[in-house]
Amino acid sequence: MKFDTPAGINPIDRMAVVGKPHDRVDGARKVTGTAPYAYERHDVVPDALYGFILGAAIAKGRITGIDTAHAQAMPGVRAIVTYQNAGKLTLGSKNTAKLLAGPEVEHYHQAVALVVADSFEKARAAAAAIHVDYGRAAGHFDLAAAAKSAKSDGGEDEDGSKSPPIDRIGDFAGAFAAAPVTLDATYTTPDEAHAMMEPFATTAAWTGDALTVWTANQMIAWTREDLATTLGLPKDKVRVDSPFVGGGFGGKLFLRADAVLAALGAKATGRPVKIAMQRPLMFNNSTHRPATIQRIRLGADRSGKLTAIAHECTSGNLPGGSPETATDQTKLLYAAPNRLTAQHLAVLDLPEGNAMRAPGEASGLMALEIAMDEMAEKLGMDPVEFRIINDTQVDPEKPERPFSQRQLIKCLRDGAATFGWSARDARPGRRRDGDHLIGLGVASAFRNNINFKSAARVRLGRDGVVTVETDMTDIGTGSYTIIAQTAAEMMGVGIDRVVVRLGDSDFPVSAGSGGQWGANSSTSGVYAACVKLREAVAARLGFNAPDPDFIDGHVRSGNRSVALADAAKDGDLVAEDTMSWSGLSRKYQQSTFGAHFVEVAVDAYTGEIRVRRMLAVCAAGRILNPKTARSQVIGAMTMGVGGALMEELVVDKRFGFFVNHDLAGYEVPVHADIPHQEVVFLDEADDKVSPMKAKGVGELGLCGVGAAIANAVYNATGVRIRDYPLTLDKHLDWLPTV
């Protein structure tokens, strides 16, 4: 099915099941420990050996010798895989650095060896007994230093095409010079880790020349393809199965070392092998959100109308890597006739930078939305009003393209009312509660809506049960549930009559989980398949009417009503289809919007910053399930607190690695950091995006949170911090004397 004209009325609009706050259909399995995760596939692979990965001890250079003799002789060791015996490995299309080093080392903790043994402990002990000699090479590890030689690079557009490195509209320089009120400020964001709860994990087994990996992955088709490429196998000899994933945040979009090495270990031993990457390797072996240096210039007239906007971002990556597209939202968020956005990419020899939840916008809004706050203050305007008067209903670069739906103003206004924004004192440092300085902050949230081709298969069984199969993944997001709701709505059955099977490369290829495209795309694929199944059912039951109703387990037209299950009494009915998109996203800019409001308390003595309350108002099309959507948004807000206040991969610029590579050193929020969180969804349905009329929310909830916190901290203290994370040492010297 092709989605190329706005959606009319369709069965989803009934919203008998879709749009209801259903509990997760997989919830019981998760809380009872019966949901099988990649490292625990005893159900299908009872006899796996254990793999343990040894990471490189240097950031850049060559392996000059590997002595595995001692390790090989240790008890229980079955195989040791290194580049010397792994055979030819080809770099997958989505990988920048090789997943097994040798002889070159491209980054710290790049995998150097895999030990396979009878137990985890034996494999770990033997890994420590491998002796590797390295020749170190000099590398570039300091973004600020490398920025000077950065090249223009626009990165990729959503459709995978190259974006221009510089966008110019009107005459930015002239307008900025002429503007009576201007801001020119530089902001930095650090490298961040996905730090998902479940590490990379794979169980691999060969049957003849065919490989199956039970793994933790967000994008089954990409990973199948890259695993086949890496190992030199035909794609149809590789099966990837990822029914449950313990978090990903973009870290599991791609093929990673666990899957490749488990496959190689299994090949070497002739036995299934499982690997869960040890936590200390998870920070340098993986991808991460790259650090940015962002310069923003804003010019406005005295009424507060922006006349000039420029946003330039520099990030770094390994050779062949891509930039952090932190200027994306600036092309679309506010009106102004004169605009400049530019991206630069420096070469760094740190681990690979790549997508982390809301790539581009998360970092970009951390800077842009502080700049907006600073500008509002210069103009003497309320930051909510300032944003409102600079709203645009069209793509500012291409005014002929309206937004499909854009209610940023309502998000801001409703949020301000709900949050009690009027209590904010515009003069910073004025509100106190005992020893705490209290501040309120706001930021706009913005994240593009992306649709990816997505297929599904649906089967109506004799018993009236509808089974959905698609390689879509549920990374904790609620995919199982919204897909069940979609199929239930379409086929007119209760959600308990739907079985959803996900994450298997034997199933039709879906959009996968990433870029907040998963919910809308994958349910649209299920919609398409269900439309076909409805046609097959109607035909089988002899309905001549064009579109009978599917309600309450029955198919009805006029006064004829037949039980749905009757259609399958002579055998299952199966339908498969793919939803694809064309045209509408060129005609209409499709984005999601929101407003974040935050109250912080800053300890006037110690400078410690704690968040007191948070509100997000989101406009993201139809909300398929308010409960799972809310979970996504509050989880994202929590991640935003981490990004604002504590998360930073600290670079050792001499040795070239992230120093704080465990969960003690890389701090993420704990329960005590997370206060009252409230989420409001505006009642929307966007007919330009899909028959579901839904957009993504999984990333929107993160976009802008950091800046809202930073703005609240400024409102509390009067000290502006432009370098994330906002740790107390950055404002301590300017706090009131005690």
Partner: protein, 317 residues
């Protein structure tokens, strides 16, 4: 983790002897620090002597009105003890500011005193670290040192003692009781227990190999207001950037120890004497001769402001 042998000791002197007579042996308390370090091969004992059966899990009054805490008493038990809560509240507050509920259930009094530094380079066996591998160098000097010490350091090591409980014990003038393989006992004032790195940062304390801690003793209560203030980047479950254990008397005199700033809980007589003159005076005394790094010089300001917060708390208490 290297392979090791294991035994459960049945007497204190026996445990001490078992470790003393085995070069690579160590005592095992709750295991929450030692086992983590063994998994990373930062510690590589060849033999573990488990002390859980030694009945060192009692808290009892001493004849001079103090309290004797068995080495195996858990952090949870100790912090919840009614006498500790009443007479040594700074200790309860310090313990409860540390780690997590689960860890405090396992962590023992002796093991807590002996927890090793949290310097990130100490934890990465690819990196030079004099404390882990004597003579290999110190990666933290010139590297990432935001968490590390500002005073008491040497050119070989700038790590902190990371714990909370010991900071309160320092303010309370606790003593550490030990027994060795011969059955000889000694009493070590907490002030002398942890050592400064000097040229041998691999040695954290004055204990000899095979010397078993049997108890920690608190002198009789000193009264006053008991404050423990721990500052960190997140609200819980993080080691201190700076912590302050203060006991302040109604007459304005008192005692104060700092955590997170030095290789040992940091206290000085001159600093105590300055308490009536305010936080700035105390910090000036306590941190005279400090050698902070670029990353951690804020700790000096933070120590002063944290102490000021603690003293303000005393005034309003």
């Amino acid at each position: 983790m290297r392979a090791f042998t294991y035994e459960r000791a049945t007497s204190a002197a026996g445990a001490a002897a078992a470790v003393a007579h085995h070069a690579g042996a160590k005592f095992l308390g709750g295991g929450t620090n030692l086992l983590d370090l063994m998994k990373l091969e930062i510690e590589t004992p060849t033999h573990l002597v488990d002390i859980q059966d030694l009945k060192l899990d009692q808290i009892e009054a001493t004849h001079d009105g103090g309290l004797r805490i068995g080495a195996f008493v858990s952090n949870t038990t100790l912090s919840a003890n009614p006498r500790v809560r009443r007479d040594y509240a700074v200790l309860t507050r310090a313990i409860q500011a540390g780690a997590s509920g689960q860890l405090r259930n396992k962590a023992t009094t002796a093991g807590n005193l002996l927890q090793r530094t949290r310097c990130p380079y100490f934890y990465d066996t690819n990196q030079p670290c004099n404390k882990r591998t004597p003579g290999s160098g110190c990666a933290a000097i010139g590297g990432y040192s935001r968490q590390l010490a500002v005073i008491g350091t040497s050119d070989t090591c700038i790590a902190t003692y990371p714990g909370d409980m010991a900071v309160a014990l320092r303010a309370l003038d606790a003593t550490v009781e030990t027994v060795d393989a011969t059955g000889a006992t000694r009493v070590i004032p907490i002030a002398d227990f942890h050592r400064l790195p000097g040229a041998t940062p691999e040695i954290d304390t004055v204990l000899n190999h095979g010397e078993l801690i049997t108890a920690v003793t608190l002198p009789k209560p000193v009264g006053g207001a008991h404050i423990y203030r721990k500052v960190r980047d997140r609200a819980s479950y993080a080691f201190a950037l700076v912590s302050v254990a203060a006991v302040v008397q109604p007459d304005g005199s008192g005692r104060v120890a700092f955590g997170g700033v030095a290789p040992k809980p940091w206290r000085s007589a001159a600093a105590d004497a300055a308490i009536p003159h305010g936080a700035a005076a105390v910090v000036e005394q306590a941190f005279a001769g400090a050698r902070p790094t670029h990353d951690n010089s804020f700790k000096l300001t933070l120590a002063k402001r944290t102490l000021a917060a603690a003293m303000a708390q005393v005034r309003t208490a």
